[in-house]
């Protein structure tokens, strides 16, 4: 057969066409990736905008932005908000993986090479993330234009705090555009990151003409994260009093803050990577004791694939730990600051809103993981249903697999965040009684209500999204899946 002068493989156009070919599930994956990438790009552009606020810009209705010293904190919060969003994108690119795997295997059977397959996956993810990036830049630009009005300059009157809200000032820094290099970086980061991540993920996958082999590690999760978490939290609890005895707290935030940040990062890394170890240990303890079929299936799943659930749940746990630390810090600030001064109250309210968005994104990622888990295991589920296993039992197994490791992890995260805040800022604050009055120590209350809302609300949201994922269970246990298996 004449194959032309040189067999150079499929052209980019062919790969492009193959990348965007697929069914409804593939379309859903692409749409979710676009939405997630757009949200992440908006988050990054917002952080870039705050980073670009100059000395002559402002003031703003969002008073925290008027304090140059607090802006790095705002940028860190916005970047942290991108973590659950990027995790959501990471979960989205896995949606419909089995159908895509079959398509890729068929492509290999038709003569496609492994590098062609990697190209198709990278193009699909890269295109979707680029589209998301473009949408994100577009939405950002529209919001920037819509919310913008000239920042009126009011003279600062004697006695007026300059950093406070100024009447008529724009709430957000809509008079500022990110510097060109930050704009390029923030716009390109998500598409590039998603493309690279998809290529890295393909290293664990072998696409052959006969199917797709996912290389899973069967090593139990390491215990190092547990050590990191314990050392980090214990350090945070003790560091406040240790630093005070060493006189470090009097020398400014430098050394004190650096060690506190290091300990906090250790605790966070330990918790995020430790959720898989926690799930594994819980499953290993439960599995030989479980008498209920749903609990047995769930606990064995935790032992067999502890990283599956932890991929998404670690972000939920991270959000809860940060949220708990914020609530503990807020309780301290509300005690030691003037009740008539609304700056800190408003700032913490803003932080709570950001946290709520973060938890929502993290839980959305969990929904994608739960749905994907049900769809991936559809053959086994269909066979179990056919042999008389009630769908209720299968649904309970899915629910337990998510909730059993996550409930203690959320409690642990909430406790860790609170201990960290109370360890760093103390359990009592000095309050001055009137102008020129004596300072007295007042106990900082434990914000039980706020913590309850945070932990309970997150757990309720997790249960809700897992319940939503069960809507896919009926379809996954459908007879047609059984016929496909047979």
């Amino acid at each position: 057969m004449n194959r032309g002068p040189a067999d150079t493989g499929p052209t980019l156009t062919t790969l492009l066409r193959l990348a965007v070919t697929g069914g409804r599930v593939d379309l859903m994956r692409i749409m979710l990736t676009v939405i997630g990438a757009a949200a992440a790009t908006i988050g990054l552009l917002t952080a870039a905008t705050v980073a670009s606020i100059g000395a002559s810009d402002g003031p703003y209705g969002l008073t925290v932005l008027n304090e140059p010293g607090l802006r790095p904190g705002v940028i860190i919060v916005l970047l942290l908000l991108c973590v659950p969003i990027l995790s959501f994108v990471g979960q989205c690119v896995r949606v419909g993986a089995p159908a895509r795997d079959r398509r890729l295997a068929a492509f290999r059977m038709a003569g496609g090479t492994p590098s062609n397959v990697r190209g198709i996956v990278a193009i699909e993810t890269g295109l979707a993330a680029t589209a998301g990036g473009v949408v994100g830049v577009g939405v950002y630009a529209v919001l920037h234009a819509v919310l913008r009005h000239p920042p009126p300059r009011h003279p600062v009157l004697p006695g007026q705090i300059e950093t406070g809200a100024v009447a008529g000032a724009p709430i957000l820094p809509t008079d500022v555009w990110p510097t060109w290099w930050l704009l390029v970086l923030a716009s390109a980061l998500v598409p590039l990151g998603a493309t690279v991540a998809s290529l890295v993920a393909m290293r664990r996958i072998t696409v052959s003409p006969f199917g797709v082999l996912h290389r899973h590690s069967h090593r139990p999760p390491a215990t190092l994260p547990a050590v990191l978490f314990t050392v980090g939290v214990a350090g945070l609890v003790l560091w406040g009093s240790v630093a005070e005895r060493l006189g470090l707290t009097d020398e400014g935030p430098g050394a004190f803050g650096a060690v506190a940040l290091l300990l906090f990062v250790m605790a966070v890394v330990g918790l995020v990577f430790g959720t898989a170890a926690l799930a594994y240990q819980i499953g290993r303890w439960l599995a030989p004791r479980a008498g209920h079929p749903a609990l047995l299936i769930a606990s064995r799943r935790l032992v067999d694939a502890p990283f599956t659930a932890s991929r998404a749940s670690s972000v939920v746990v991270l959000a809860v730990m940060l949220g708990s630390a914020v609530q503990g810090t807020r309780a301290d600030f509300l005690v030691i600051t003037d009740p008539t001064e609304t700056f800190y109250r408003d700032t913490f309210t803003l932080l709570n809103i950001v946290l709520a968005v973060g938890v929502a994104m993290a839980v959305a990622g969990l929904l994608v993981t739960a749905v994907e888990g049900v769809i991936t295991r559809r053959r086994t589920l269909a066979a179990l249903a056919a042999s008389g296993t009630p769908r209720r039992v299968l649904g309970e197994a899915v629910l337990l697999e998510t909730v059993v490791p996550l409930a203690p992890a959320i409690l642990l995260a909430a406790a860790a965040g609170l201990f960290a805040a109370r360890g760093l800022f103390g359990t009592a604050g000095g309050v001055r009684q009137g102008i020129g009055g004596r300072s007295s120590q007042v106990a900082v209350p434990v914000p039980w209500t706020d913590l309850g809302i945070l932990a309970g609300g997150t757990l309720a949201a997790v249960c809700l999204v897992t319940a939503v994922s069960l809507l896919f269970l009926r379809r996954s246990t459908d007879l047609r899946e059984l016929r496909a298996a047979a």
Partner: protein
Amino acid sequence: MTTAMPSAGPHAAPPTTALSARSLVVSYGHTPALRGVSLDVARGEILAVTGPSGSGKSTLLLCLAGILVPDVGEVGFGDRCISAESEASRSRLRRGEFGVLFQFGQLVPELTAAENVALPLLLAGCRRKAAITAAHTWLERFGVDELASAQPSSMSGGQAQRVAVARALVSEPEVLFADEPTGAMDTLAGEKVMAELVRVARQAGTTVVLVTHDAGIASYGDREVHVRDGLLDEAPRVTATHVASGAR
């Protein structure tokens, strides 16, 4: 809730009949799978259903097992009309009176062999210790007791299918439905599994409906019916191949 079969009608099943199908019609979209199939299966009988791919033999098994409700027609089990019963009722039937065996996919990959076999008993409310003990007995009966703690991924196709057979029989069902039970195995392993399945079924008096396209596997049946283009082509015969070999 169970629904009784009309006892006085022309389609009433005789007392020795375990299963009966009357004028079954099933279509997948515009594609007909069964076009008016009627069939009786006697108690303790091993019935082989054969036919080419896409002939409708698996659909017939799914209807008889209460997994699929026919568009037209009735399926009876004893004096019950199971095709008229609810999904939950048919599920209970498959957990108790029926055992179902497929070519692959029926073992839960994360559970050990013993837990897989114990699963139907746990679903029936049996305590874990008793269920696991019973599972070990059944695994031993099929010669795979040493795999009790192993997961399906570490077993060969034949070993996994023996575990699946043990699971299908652990609740001592009245009827076992097997759809290409040896399809994923080599001939020798398939013969061994079939010999053991038939031996255990004979001992317990279990009725077996066996769907296969393999003439060798079909020869384990007392009777063979052939499905072609959704219609039954029954050729009564008595297989002698495995009588002499002691399989029955």
